[in-house]
Amino acid sequence: MDDLYREVIVERYKNPGFRGSLNPNDISFEDENPLCGDHLRIELRVDDNGKVSDARYDGHGCAISQASADLLLESIIGKSLDDIKKLNKNNVLELLGIELGPVRLKCALLPLKILKAGVYGLGEATDDLVEEE
């Protein structure tokens, strides 16, 4: 089996746990990767203690970007917004457990980029959001 398409990634893509939308929500942000057409929206609910109580994503794209979104949202439930601000690309690659070339790396990191832009309340999602500090 291809490393790039580890069973966990295809399984997540086929049977996502966090696909959908939250209405009402506290944070909502969407963006796309114009090169490949991946489009994603992430919505969060945040409780009184500033922790994520629920999260959903919706959109379309390759298995890598969608599985990355599903795994990422699963990992942030119960985390504080400050914890999310500290996440970088290494956390996502750890969740996916695969080596990625530069093109697919963009797909894998799109969800984190959108998540952090939403949490920071930015107008746009920029690449530096996913880099290590």
Binding site: Y5, V10, H60
Partner: protein, 69 residues
């Protein structure tokens, strides 16, 4: 190939040693016209053999099984 993303198809074909083109093929208005997000295109030429085609079909069947099986 219903329900399978273009970029997943080309990436797995690439791993199998098959070169195709994926995306808009410099023809984005045409894709918009047919409401297609992107397509994968296999082209044949003089140097391709019947075995190459068999290999492509075999890979495509494997991809369908992987995502829809």
């Amino acid at each position: 190939m219903e329900g399978i993303n273009t970029h997943d198809i080309y990436k797995i074909l690439d791993k199998d040693g098959i070169a195709v083109r994926a995306g808009h093929h410099c023809a984005m208005p045409l894709h918009d016209r047919f409401h297609l997000p992107a397509t994968t295109r296999a082209s044949y030429y003089l140097y391709n053999t019947k075995e190459d085609v068999d290999k492509l079909v075999k890979s495509l069947h494997r991809i369908v099984k992987m995502f829809n099986g």
